[in-house]
Symmetry: C2
Subunit: 274 residues, 2 copies
Amino acid sequence: MRPAENAQLALLLEVSGTPKPGNVDRDRNLSDLRYEDFLVGAVGAGRGLRAAETGPVGEAFERAVEGMAERHGRNSQFGALLLLVPLVRAASEGELSPAGAERVVNDTTVADAADFYRAFEHVAVFVSDPPADVDDLDVRRGAAAIPALEDRELTLADVMALGDADDVAREWTTGFERSFRVADRVGELSGPLSARAAEAFCEQLAEHPDTLVVKKHGEEIAREASRRVADAIGSRDDIDALAMEFVRRGINPGTTADIVAAGLFIALERGVEP
Amino acid sequence: MRPAENAQLALLLEVSGTPKPGNVDRDRNLSDLRYEDFLVGAVGAGRGLRAAETGPVGEAFERAVEGMAERHGRNSQFGALLLLVPLVRAASEGELSPAGAERVVNDTTVADAADFYRAFEHVAVFVSDPPADVDDLDVRRGAAAIPALEDRELTLADVMALGDADDVAREWTTGFERSFRVADRVGELSGPLSARAAEAFCEQLAEHPDTLVVKKHGEEIAREASRRVADAIGSRDDIDALAMEFVRRGINPGTTADIVAAGLFIALERGVEP
């Protein structure tokens, strides 16, 4: 399969993994986001993922987000696409490694950054306020922030470095460290890949408070969520109970899911069986 | 969404519907075919489905089957693709109606028929013996049957007319009658589209003995399966029990699923919410 196809498959396998406490999975919907929305998002993102094989990274990302949201208008996989697009490019250049991914990041331009901002016009993304000194670069400004980007000559890599309190942005500045770790881990686990994805999700969440949960509920709740998952690992009943509780409390570890999707893509490229 | 994207989404929604007695769904695998194989098949078929928008129907079908089977080597969606490819073309020509689909069928050529035969080289498909007088046209001969096709100047429409004991082939010769009926029906039902797909599957199976079941187990078992589903409709417990029994007995109504996938595509093109 081509890298764009493996990326699309990674999105489908990620959401099909169950149970993943707090997230949509094949057995659980949230009130405003359903399993079907992720199928729609994965299909719609296809065009952008194919563009990522050869075209500019920022434009490919914008197209992927546009396609993802075209039918349902929801943010099902924004963060996952932000990881997959540079990884698809690295794979398509034959160097799907931390160094290869870093090269893709370092090659990004101001035009890529502008397209990244345009992507925020297609869908509502939950983000924190930026630091006061970069207020004119608030992603929620969308295309209106582009003149400020151009004035400061910021590439997409620069923009990601500004956002490194977010664990998706952090992947961009660390050679996709956690994504590659997830790929190693799902390579070690056994069973269908979607089941391994759910296991890797729980392990990742246990180790790293989820940055989307931090933004929505604060550091303390995010740390609590990680602790609770760490205690539940090993008991399917406890994980299922936690899944119900997290959904009820609106604790939605979306960043962790994004990183697992990126890890699944790398694993699929390495030839792991779906 | 483009027709090819709606077709890919139809494949994903069809397999995600549950319970569908005897078939793979999001809660059930068969011993030799898993839910994940259908995700892989839907992703891999994308190339061929996109080709169906503008290129020759036979070649698009062959590419769709090749892509479907490329990763897992299994026949997850051969029949569904044989229905979706001409319907994608009709939609892309702006005439997704029985008449529009009939026109696509009537426009097929001997070259389309040759590519259809080539598709059988990518994957094992369960078929019956052909009548003795057309033995040289047995689809299991694959590309070896092409000289016989060319001698007789048979188009793909002609080949389908030879195979009308099969309900997928029959759709080709009847303006996709059942596919359009399923589309009407899922438009009337409520709930997520994958749940409507499962309901429509049971209703279709109750009305029509499945031709794949006929080929594998004979007319009598196929009629029994339809009668049992008809009796179980309305009780989730009875349908679930039947799903377990059919899987155990190898009763796998794959043709019915193919027709439901085609109906979902038509419904999606009409704007039904996934």
